[in-house]
Symmetry: C2
Subunit: 340 residues, 2 copies
């Protein structure tokens, strides 16, 4: 009768070790109040039976699941995949498992996924950005589930945030291009609907221009999803305008790469005729020709730091609630002073 169904249970270990289930539980959980000899017998018995505890039972009784959820727009974009990679790596060091869901930038779908995560008993949830359904947040709060915003630095009343200031990032791009002497601007933003980050970048960019006397209505902003082709198309629209921009800020490196592609095809010199700034500093920023000037987003760090927050004790958390990471301008070859 050795071909057991699922395997040995705790009580089987107890029997083999000739002790009570309670004792086995204590040994397995590192409770010190157990005699050396017994401990040994239990460990041996557990190994012999190939015993693996039943997580559901454990979770049910102890009300601790050691489960974390993350809901991100997509794994198809390196910026999120890398964040998750960092998050997962750090969590798994502490035997915490990560359930991941992709919402495709849809906050209604996000709610459904959050609900499922709650049902699974996750103890924390990592979210992207700060645009979420009120019901989503209410549900998490009602269930006393920690949540962490990423890619944004503004935490709400409850919940924490680890990320950067998207508006400041937009301003940085504007400042840099202004300093190069540009005065004709265009922007290829990501889709800003339900996306505070894309919107923040755009607003920061426009605001900084405005502060330097450039009316934002004179700045053409087009939006595209995060695909190469969108970048191409958007750049085309920008360059077919009556007054061509000499400087274009893109909401992501992918869009920027597409913009460069289009420029090549259309015989527009980069950065000779138009300077292009990307966002993210993905590996591809080094692959475009010319190489892409861009803003570096600390994706992996965000994941790691979010994990640190989650793993911290409630008292430690207070210090970690709001964490703004720096974003750096990486100057490469796709930008130059404006040509007279």
């Amino acid at each position: 009768m050795d071909l057991e169904d699922g395997g040995a249970k705790l009580i089987d270990v107890a029997r083999l070790a000739n002790c009570s289930p309670a004792t086995v539980s204590r040994v397995l959980n590192g409770n010190p109040n157990v005699n050396e000899a017994v401990r040994d017998r239990v460990v041996r018995a557990a190994r012999e039976l190939g015993y693996v505890p039943n997580g559901s039972a454990r979770a049910l009784r102890s009300t601790r699941t050691r489960l974390v959820g993350a809901i991100i727009p997509t794994l198809d974009h390196a910026i999120y995949a890398t964040m998750v990679d960092g998050l997962q790596a750090r969590l798994s060091e502490k035997d915490v498992s990560l359930i991941i869901n992709t919402s495709g930038y849809d906050i209604d779908l996000e709610y459904e996924q959050a609900r499922l995560l709650v049902e699974r008993g996750v103890e924390s949830v990592v979210l992207v950005g700060s645009t979420h359904l009120p019901t989503t947040l209410a549900m998490l709060e009602q269930k006393r589930i920690e949540y962490v915003y990423t890619y944004t630095s503004k935490a709400m009343e409850s919940g924490a945030a680890v990320g950067f200031d998207n508006e400041k990032a937009g301003r940085t791009a504007a400042r840099y291009l202004l300093d190069l002497g540009h005065s004709q601007f265009g922007m290829i933003a990501g889709i800003t609907r339900d996306n505070d980050r894309a919107a923040g970048r755009r607003d920061g960019f426009l605001n900084e221009l405005e502060r330097s006397g450039i009316d934002h209505t004179r700045v053409r902003v087009v939006e595209g999803a995060y695909r190469l082709d969108d970048g191409r198309r958007c750049m085309q629209r920008l360059m077919e305008e009556e007054r061509r921009p000499t400087a274009v800020f893109c909401g992501s490196d992918i869009l920027a790469a597409g913009a460069i592609k289009y420029s090549h095809a259309a015989g527009i010199a980069v950065p000779g005729e138009v300077s292009i700034v990307g966002f993210d500093n993905l590996e591809i920023a080094e692959l475009t020709s010319p190489e892409l000037t861009t803003l570096e987003v600390p994706a992996r760090d965000m994941g790691r730091i979010a994990a640190d927050y989650i793993l911290a004790s409630p008292s430690q958390r207070l210090h970690l609630r709001q964490r703004e990471l720096a974003i750096r301008l990486i100057v490469r070859e796709s930008t130059a002073p404006v040509r007279r």
Copy 2:
């Protein structure tokens, strides 16, 4: 006393709906043997209380967790991230959650993660490639957990596989370059240790060359991790050889992109002096100049099909056990007939 701890439980719903817990359970699980009126009361009560079932309790009693695990080398490489994206999307349509772990190409670490997944009660595990510790597989089998190999088409005795034939892929690359008239070859392989896929690609490449009378000892093979810089360095080593190759096959697009970068810097014309073939057909293949000739790996499809297998009933599964997907050669600009 409304500020409840975690929220309402099933029994609270039962009380409010004035029925037994069993009935509530039936309603929530779509059991048809329940009167319309009662069903209505239960649904209403559940909504009113914001009831969310406790997954652990449910899993414990029903022995079904609706949890799937995936262990991949890294999320930092688009080829895996995209597969996971497809996998997750399909699974979540059926309310199955995905726990993901990255092993960093370390099969010992993979075992630890598999163990944790087993403990969590996952019903299936998605693995990458076919190189795994015997104990890992034994554990899964003993616990009657389905597992699926991806990125390889050879299933073992037990378990399923959805992927492609890496050796055939290597042969395809060789055939293509041979047909272009090349006779001096080099290869930049991924790290082949514990990596059947990278090794398969290399072997297929060398075998096909050998079949055409090219001694494999004359083909220099260097290995690099999957970073741009590794591609650069490897290409350098290849091109500093006495007899320079005129055709180089790279185990991934990233390596190929690095190789092209190096060639540029070193003033070696691509494809004039050396043809370069990549592998994966990532988005970056369109960004290099010249654009990269490469082999397309159906990453997203693998994820989706793996999900289909997992979601299938045991009887359906038999048909799906081994699924070989086609890989296509995408000819772009980085390859050309050998120069006389």
